[in-house]
């Protein structure tokens, strides 16, 4: 997610606001196990029904990711420190 986020950056997410294109979100691979599975941080490209098209900011290294169901999202990034 360079240059927006570097390794070691901390983010705070908020789970109760509406997600829109351009937001950075943190999500897991499965909704039921999202508290234990590894999580990912990506930017929302577009929203289709209840799924998100996500992409990494680092276009040189980002591979295409599958559609992410909205229920897999832990929250929208609201702060980086």
């Amino acid at each position: 997610m360079l240059p927006s986020f570097k390794p070691g950056d901390h983010v705070v997410t908020f789970a109760w606001s509406k997600i829109k294109a351009g937001d950075v979100v943190v999500f897991a691979g499965d909704a039921k196990l999202k508290r234990v599975l590894p999580v990912y941080i990506k930017r929302v490209l577009a929203i289709e029904d209840k799924s998100l098209h996500v992409i990494g900011d680092n276009k040189n290294e980002s591979a295409k990711m599958p559609l992410v169901p909205a229920k897999n999202v832990l929250g929208r990034v609201i702060w980086k420190y």
Binding site: M1, F5, H10, G29, L33, Y40, I41, G56, M65
Partner: protein
């Protein structure tokens, strides 16, 4: 900001992966099985050490074995999470509805083996890893000819022996 990061000691943050792993398609379970087997062996060695009147050598071996057990339990966890998050796809979780639970239990068993010195728990972990390796073998596409000699197509591979 540095002060806020000191809060990490109180509330440990989760790591969010940003870099997309290059989808090289190279996955295997040999490392996982060897790590699980190593834990069993370390437990056997630890249980064979004297409990009382330990010599300096005994204490040295005890520490070394605990260190190796801990390291290989971490390898098990890492390998399991990689297979769980990167290799298996939604269609596999549909075909094996309890696959998430199997991985969850295996990861917890790896953690249990860090906290305990127990042949039962080590054997349980090995059985769980073997089961997941078996499912992996059903899913993994046959290797290309330029990868001849890889674990999955070598009949004498250590993995085949660990699976039997």
């Amino acid at each position: 900001m540095k002060l806020l990061r000191k809060l990490d000691f109180i509330v440990r943050p989760r790591i969010a992966l940003a870099h997309c792993d290059i989808p090289c398609g190279i996955y295997e379970t040999g490392t996982l099985l060897v790590a699980a087997q190593t834990i069993i062996r370390m437990v056997e060695v630890l249980e064979a050490l004297p409990v009382e009147n330990q010599s300096l050598k005994d204490r040295n071996n005890f520490i070394r074995c605990v260190h190796v057990k801990e390291k290989h339990a971490s390898i098990c966890e890492e390998q399991l999470v990689t297979l769980w998050a990167d290799f298996f796809k939604p269609e596999h979780f549909k075909k094996w509805p309890d696959l998430h639970e199997k991985f969850w239990k295996a990861v917890n068993l790896a953690s249990d083996n860090k906290q305990n010195v127990s042949l039962d728990k080590a054997s349980e972990l090995m059985a769980a890893c073997r089961e997941l390796a078996g499912i992996f073998d059903q899913v993994k596409v046959a290797p290309k000819t330029d990868l001849a000699g890889t674990v999955s197509d070598n009949p004498d591979s250590p993995k085949k022996k660990l699976m039997s």
